[in-house]
């Protein structure tokens, strides 16, 4: 995505585990973000245990906010040629390839990336291993030499990169830090004195605006931080990609705030634990991915029936079953929305980016408590693992509504009806142990006091009540605001979750053409704001729904509301849908 007027460069640093490609990526991210560039990074590694495969740090650096990691790379750094060769088809026209020009031994035919560099690519050979050995007496700092070379070739301000390296290694020892700085400087010097610049990427030593408040955070880290900010008291979970990181962070941090983390024997137990926590009036959460959500489905129904506030984060990945554990997908929408037995309404939220992972996690707790319901937060592997430069959101996050947490008044405790029918469906709840406010919480259909009651009339009344508060939530949650052009649209793009970034980037592009394009990007995925969808549809000559699943799970929901056939971009490319794909489809439409 090289954009020569401004800076918009996508790097891929590729190696085998132990080559330090991910570390190099993280230094690059940190340094670039501190310079004031916007970054989006995603680390890619195969499903198998990390030790065996390739790992790739994919980083996009831009002087404008970035919506996607970019699909094609402008620069590939090879720390392991065998792996890097498999990355060649991810390169943009004119891409730069940086490789070790002096590996210790000859390699066999077709095992050197230099052997694949063709016109249309620019190769820079640097003796990475040799320079690393000079600096640190081992080849382990080849990644740092490569960073130095990148700084020299592309004129990336070196001081920021040095700081990022120093910060990391000083934790180990001053000596290690200094030898790595030496490795960096050797790479820089080599690039400055020995390479003839043949590419057009130039950061011109520019620092668009040094920032101290910026943090480099992944979606998972943002969720974990939101748990801490929201005063979570219980996290229970069973490890699973890509959600495990949330548990890892909370296991460290939550006890410091008086909270508890329980690693349970499975996902059923995990949700059981947090239903207990929610019932007890403590903010409780679990995080899982598709296979775990499947296991949790019955307990989710209990939380619906017993009106217990809990939050379930689901980091979607390729499925069904174990599926593609390390590849992203948005295919758990159906199970999140419709995965209950009986009429089992549950709100589903989906953040679009890392900042929203934080905001919507906090919101999820508010919604869970205010509407006494389980809330499912749908992230995905791409969003969970990708890293962005953000500043932590401050304030009350009221853009997604303000909700009242209705607790029953113990003074009025006589004849306590925990599930009393109210005009908005929300009944004041009690915290167990409050004198006079005890009640049975049960998965059986019950009356207003919580006592089992199976008459058809009662079942209808209570089902209506549960849907009523569901509708109350929809009314309280601001309807999604259309983005882009007003009035009649040549094309309207609807999307959700992490695909919103690609859709927005596509919109940005379409606005540079003569096409009238707009977007509608709900974050409250269920219940849907039907009126907003209908209004947007009525203005859109062509209506696209873009999402990362095969069967068009959201498209099906949208079609049911807008009563027309939508144009589906429903793809499972084992990565985010590229904005170019949306542009291509939109560009080919009749106006």
């Amino acid at each position: 995505m090289t954009e020569l007027n401004g800076i918009d460069v996508t790097f891929r640093i590729c190696g085998a585990a132990g080559d330090g490609s991910l570390a190099a990526g993280s230094f690059l991210n940190r340094a670039a973000a501190r310079m004031g560039y916007h970054i989006m990074n995603i680390d890619l590694y195969p499903a198998e245990i990390r030790g065996f495969g390739k790992s790739v740090a994919h980083t996009r650096i831009s002087d404008r906010p970035v919506q996607t990691p970019g699909s094609l790379a402008d620069c590939l750094v090879s720390l392991n040629d065998l792996h890097a060769i498999t990355e060649l088809d991810t390169l943009a026209e004119g891409a730069v390839i940086l490789y070790d020009s002096k590996p210790p031994n000859y390699v066999e035919e077709d095992e050197a990336i230099a052997g694949f560099i063709e016109p249309g690519m620019i190769g820079y050979g640097i003796p990475l291993g040799e320079l690393s050995s000079i600096a640190t007496k081992s080849a382990r700092s080849r990644n740092i030499v490569a960073l130095g070379a990148l700084s020299g070739i592309f004129h990336l301000p070196s001081e920021y990169l040095r700081d990022a390296i120093r910060e990391r290694f000083t934790r180990k020892s001053e000596e290690i830090a200094e030898s790595n700085i030496r490795a960096f400087d050797l790479g820089l010097e080599y690039a400055n004195t020995r390479l003839v610049k043949a590419d057009a990427i130039d950061f011109e030593e520019r620092v668009p605006g040094a920032r101290d408040d910026v943090v480099i955070v992944s979606g998972n880290e943002a969720v974990a931080r939101a748990c801490l900010d929201a005063g979570v008291r219980l996290y229970a979970g069973y490890p699973i990609t890509p959600a495990t990181k949330i548990m890892e962070i909370l296991a460290k941090e939550l006890p410091k705030q008086g909270g508890v983390v329980v690693q349970t024997e499975d996902e059923i137990s995990a949700i059981g634990h947090i239903i207990g926590g929610g019932f007890a009036g403590k903010r409780s959460i679990t995080a899982t991915s598709g296979p775990g959500l499947s296991l949790m489905s019955e307990f989710l129904n209990l939380a619906v029936m017993a009106e217990v506030p809990v939050v379930v984060v689901n980091g979607q990945r390729g499925g069904p079953s174990t599926g593609l554990p390390t590849k992203t997908e948005q295919s758990d929408l159906n199970i999140a929305v419709f995965g209950g037995s009986g009429d089992s309404p549950r709100p589903v939220l989906a953040p679009a980016d890392v900042t929203e992972c934080h905001k919507l996690t906090v919101k999820a707790f508010e919604v869970a408590e205010a509407f006494q319901t389980p809330v499912i937060l749908l992230t995905d592997l791409f969003l969970a693992n990708r890293v962005e430069d953000i500043t932590w959101p401050e304030g009350d996050l009221a853009i997604w509504g303000r909700y009242e947490n209705r607790i029953a008044d113990p003074v009025a405790a006589e004849d306590f009806k925990r599930f009393v029918i109210t005009p908005d469906g929300v009944s004041p709840r009690s915290i167990p142990g409050t004198p006079g406010l005890h009640y049975p919480a049960t998965g059986l259909e019950h009356d207003e006091r919580g006592m089992p009651e199976y008459s058809p009339e009662n079942h209808l009344r209570m089902t209506e009540k549960r849907y009523l508060k569901f509708n109350t939530l929809r009314d309280a949650w601001p309807a999604p605001v259309p983005e882009g052009a007003d009035g009649e649209l040549d094309v309207g793009i609807i999307s959700w979750g992490s695909t919103i970034g690609s859709a927005r980037e596509a919109l940005e592009h379409l606005h540079t053409t003569d096409m009238n394009a707009g977007g509608l990007f709900p974050r409250l995925i269920w219940p849907l704001h039907e009126d907003a969808l209908k209004e947007f549809s009525s203005r859109s000559r062509n209506l696209i729904v873009a999402e990362g699943n095969y069967s068009g799970q959201f498209a099906n929901m949208v079609e049911a509301v807008v009563c027309r056939e939508v144009i589906r971009i429903t793809e499972i490319p084992a990565g985010p849908i590229p904005s170019e794909r949306i542009i291509e489809v939109a560009g080919g439409l009749n106006r």
């Binding site: 590996p103 035919e109 050197a112 560099i117 063709e118 016109p119």
Partner: protein
């Protein structure tokens, strides 16, 4: 035959002529073409138009890389063979990769000759063999007013024309022995000089360089040269172009065990002493039974024919490299035999 791996060092006219025959004759074989130049196959005789910016680089390309992909040929550009191990049938590339072959064709061309007497000044000389040189020449010309052309060969003649057209002053120092591939009689040399002078060049005959010193250039802020000659002339110029003809480019083969004299010694089937190794084009020194000696011939059309002959023999045919038709240069009425050098406009 399906298991053959033909590897060709070079991506010039000889190599490409050979590739076509090999692919046709052995459709299932693996073919690899290796060239240290990072640019597709191009017309060398059009380089002067790149220097004068009358042509863009892509306008001198004969074959783009896509052609090789279509023909299922692995094209390795910008990759230098540093060593050939005939016993292991392995090439060692500069970037530390091995390439194995079953049959090898050497089409590694020629390289500008720098006569021994001038060897010490070689760092001051600007040469034109490939596109990278043409680029360099073009870049240098930006700040150049006066060019000294030394040696003399058919390339230099063309480049002189180009420089004069570009409005540069040219001083031409004709070296008696190096107007290559021509042997100049005194009479022809004088006639040449006359014509060059008529075009605006200043010509020096019967003189030679005795010293070159880098000094400040004629234009402020540039660098130039102070050249002294045997006849005690002092010449100030901004660039010294050296054109003493081409010689086979075979240095990297010295340790290979192949027989090398001026070029790679091959029989009239272009086969070397190693039955799996052939040579064609400017790099080959070919046995000619008629003269009972080996000959080196430099020239585009000749290289093309030799490439074809070598490829046929590699496929098992029996083709011989007869001497190609000789060409003649007509330089404003002055007709000279140019061996196998074909005249292109």
């Amino acid at each position: 035959m399906a298991s053959e791996h033909y590897v060709i060092i070079g991506n010039g006219v000889a190599a490409n002529a050979a590739v076509d025959i090999l692919r046709q004759g052995d459709p299932d074989s693996r073919i690899t073409v290796i060239s240290r130049e990072f640019f597709p196959f191009y017309y060398r005789h059009k380089l002067r138009f790149v220097i004068s910016e009358e042509l863009q680089e892509d306008q001198i390309v004969v074959r783009p890389p896509a052609h090789y992909r279509e023909q299922n040929i692995r094209l390795r550009l910008g990759q230098e063979v540093q060593r050939v191990d005939l016993k292991e049938k392995t090439l060692y590339l500069k970037h530390m990769e091995k390439v194995h072959f079953t049959r090898l064709l050497l089409c590694c061309g020629g390289w500008p000759r720098i006569p021994e007497v001038h060897y010490t000044y070689r760092h001051h000389f600007t040469i034109v063999k490939g596109l990278s040189h043409a680029r360099e020449f073009k870049e240098k010309l930006a700040g150049v007013k006066r060019v000294l052309m030394v040696g003399g060969d058919l390339v230099s003649l063309r480049i002189t024309e180009t420089l004069l057209r570009m409005g540069r002053e040219v001083l031409f120092l004709i070296d008696r022995d190096s107007f290559w591939p021509l042997t100049l009689t005194d009479e022809i040399r004088t006639e040449f000089a006359e014509r060059l002078t008529k075009h605006g060049a200043e010509v020096l005959i019967d003189d030679e360089i005795t010293g070159i010193e880098e000094v400040a250039g004629i234009e402020e802020g540039t660098s130039g040269y102070e050249v002294t000659t045997r006849r005690e002339k002092r010449i100030s110029c901004d660039l010294v172009g050296a054109f003493f003809g081409l010689v086979p480019n075979v240095e990297f083969l010295f340790s290979s065990g192949l027989d090398i004299d001026r070029g790679i010694l091959v029989d009239d089937h272009l086969q070397s002493r190693n039955p799996d190794v052939y040579a064609a084009g400017d790099c080959a020194q070919i046995w000619n039974p008629a003269i009972n000696n080996y000959w080196v011939s430099i020239g585009w059309e000749n290289a093309r024919l030799l490439g074809e002959v070598a490829a046929r023999n590699m496929l098992g045919e029996s083709a011989t490299a007869g001497a190609p038709k000789e060409s003649a240069l007509d330089y404003e009425g002055l007709k000279i035999n140019t061996s196998w050098w074909h005249i292109y406009d």
